[in-house]
């Protein structure tokens, strides 16, 4: 909330940079705390020493930190970053406060692939993610194909198509769940609510370059998005190639959402609330809102996943349960206090 007072200034590179640095520091601190937490307690001093490559850290601890906790924190951060970036962009393009990266059907598309993979008995390292990614992309292309007319994507048609496709796929998912054996049912449910327990460095390295490239392109479009939220026609009049921005953004965001979801399962709520929180705190300018939302999403998901893996230790909860359980009350409190900052005009 301390960031609130700076709203009177026009967004300039310095402001974006300083808020970016502040949020990155918060992210680093949250990640350090997360590293120390888990069934085996590790003190902050040990962790600092371990990170610096100094101090005496026994082999077991080093193994836990390097092979279990760190890859998981890295992936959680990247997933949160991606989903929240997707949320802020979809909210702008669809001009709808309910928009989030899953709204066009990508979640159910990914789920069909993943659950199909689980039913076939494929592994979580390659088979399930690959099937999930392919079916997520196929779904988004199907939705965009159905909604496009004369090369144009109309927002409300796109939204409706996404919702209907979601409903259809959910029916198929329910069929698989209803007929699944108990052992597979557990994997399916965890996947459907988001599960980061299978995190490995390789997943992070697969996602990272894609996420960075798409984020860069999206950031170039941040001014375009400022104009598009005020309506597509006025944006065209001021010189924005609206259709180009929409096609590139929808495909780019779907691509990175598809790839992270393939590894993490469907972690809801991050992509919806983090952009709203950031908009309440920092204002509506996408040049600031996009990086702030992405970093905020990373912070939120690293924190939520830490809770998910420690709260009923040694068992775990799906992280999607925590994002909604902790996120919803906090969000409602802010909504009541501040309003959504969103007028339908």
């Amino acid at each position: 909330m301390a960031l609130r007072g700076t709203r009177d200034r026009i967004v300039d590179p310095l402001r974006v940079l300083s808020i970016g640095v502040v949020l990155s520091i918060v992210l680093a601190v949250v990640a350090f705390i997360s590293l120390s937490m888990g069934p085996a307690k590790v003190s902050m001093g040990t962790i600092l020493g371990w990170c610096a490559g100094m101090g005496s850290v026994d082999q077991t601890t080093s193994m836990i930190l390097a092979n279990i906790r760190l890859p998981r924190i890295l992936l959680a951060g990247l997933v949160g970053f991606t989903l929240s970036l997707g949320g802020v962009v979809f909210q702008a393009l669809l001009r709808n406060p309910l928009a989030e990266p899953f709204i066009l059907g990508i979640s159910s598309g990914a789920a069909i692939g993943a659950i199909g993979g689980i039913v076939l008995g494929l592994g979580f390292s390659v088979g399930v993610p690959l099937l999930s990614f392919i079916s997520a992309l196929a779904t988004i292309l199907l939705v965009m194909g159905i909604s496009s007319r004369h090369g144009g994507l109309e927002s409300s048609t796109l939204l409706l198509t996404g919702v209907i496709v979601n409903a259809f796929f959910t029916a198929i998912i329910m069929f698989f769940i209803a007929t699944a054996s108990d052992s597979r049912l557990h994997s399916m449910l965890f996947w459907l609510y988001g599960d980061l327990s299978q995190s490995k460095y390789i997943q992070f390295s697969v996602c990272l370059p894609l996420v960075l490239i798409v984020s860069g392109v999206i950031y170039i479009f941040s001014r375009h998005l400022n104009l598009i939220v005020g309506g597509e026609e006025p944006a065209l009049q001021m010189g924005v190639e609206v259709e180009l921005v929409k096609w590139v953004s929808f495909i780019g965001i779907s691509l990175i959402t598809g790839v992270v979801v393939a590894f993490s399962g469907i972690i809801g709520f991050v992509g919806l609330i983090v952009p709203h929180l950031m908009r309440m705190m920092l204002g509506p300018d996408h040049r600031l809102l996009i990086p702030a939302s992405a970093l905020g999403g990373a912070i939120f998901l690293v924190a939520a996943d830490t809770v998910a893996r420690t709260i009923i230790s040694p068992s775990e909860l799906p992280v999607g349960v925590i994002t909604a359980f902790l996120g919803a009350p906090f969000f409602l409190y802010l909504l009541k206090k501040r309003g959504s900052q969103w007028t339908q005009g």
Binding site: D8, I10, V11, D12, P13, R95, Y219, I220, S222, R223, H224, N226, L227, V229, G230, G231, E233, P234, L236, Q237, M238, G239, V240, E241, V242, R279, G283, P284, D285, R287, Q341, W342, T343, Q344, G345
Partner: protein, 263 residues
């Protein structure tokens, strides 16, 4: 800017055709016509937002369809009838959006952009609103901010779609004073759609009366605004006489029975 034999059809029930006219720099042209006569469509055609079926719109001797959107935006600025701002952008942020077409990929405005925005705000009398949220403004203030945003585009032509429809008489006059002075002193070619015929007739150099998608009459306000033309096109009894002070045509709408008596 020239329109040549422009026609456009929407499905098969609705069309616009035989439009020929030019808009010159420094000229203020008023477009009038009943609801559904094609005014907004014509304006959108002039801005290259809809393609014509036949004929072409020439912008600086080049077909408008050959321009990219940002190139059009550098020549033509449009002031919408009403603009919805979903978020509480401040006035200066809104005005700066007009600089979009002049910026490259680097997403931040520079000092020069800010100067141009402030100059536009000075011309429209909105400088003291700079830090206010667009949501807090009255209808008249908001319209002037939108005009400031259009000026910030540094275009040569400005098209306004019913900028005065939501305003009271004082603010209507203010808007017409503003756009007339922009045409006169800044050399903009201005086209304004309006339902305030008598007021438009006081300011406009030429007027264009649209009727069912056709140009019914174009010329000086005296030639276009007459009892016959207005009552025929608008299907409504009116009396047009000369405003004794400005000597421009003045339209008085008559109630049905009074209309029957004069005819």
């Amino acid at each position: 800017m020239i329109l040549k034999e422009v026609s456009f059809s929407y499905g098969n029930c609705w069309s616009l055709g035989g439009i020929n006219f030019g808009l010159k720099k420094g000229e203020l042209v008023g477009m009038i016509g009943p609801n559904g006569s094609g005014k907004s469509t014509l304006l959108r055609i002039m801005d290259g937002l809809i393609r014509t079926d036949m004929g072409e719109v020439l912008l600086l001797n080049r077909p408008i369809s050959s321009y990219r959107r940002y190139e059009v935006a550098r020549q033509i600025a449009m002031v919408p009838q009403e603009s919805i701002f979903r978020f509480a952008f401040s006035v200066i942020e809104v005005v700066l959006m007009g600089r979009f077409a002049h910026r490259g990929l680097f997403p931040f405005e520079g000092k020069e952009d800010l100067e141009i925005a402030r100059e536009s705000m000075r011309l429209t009398g909105t400088l003291d609103l700079e830090r206010r949220s667009i949501h807090e403004l009255s209808g008249g203030e908001k319209q002037r901010v939108l005009i400031a945003r259009a000026l910030t585009q540094k275009a040569q032509f400005i098209l306004l779609d019913e900028p005065t429809s939501q305003l009271d008489i004082r603010h209507k006059v203010e808007i017409f004073e503003l756009i007339a002075s922009l045409a006169r002193t800044q050399g903009f070619g201005v086209m304004v759609v309006s339902h305030d015929i008598s007021l438009a007739a006081q300011y406009c150099h030429r007027m264009l009366l649209l009727h069912e998608g056709r140009m019914f009459r174009i010329g000086s306000p005296h030639e276009v605004v007459t009892t016959d033309t207005i009552s025929e096109v608008y299907q409504c009894p009116v009396m047009v006489d000369k405003n004794p002070i400005t000597q421009t045509p003045r339209v008085t709408v008559l109630k049905k029975r009074a209309g029957a008596e004069i005819s």
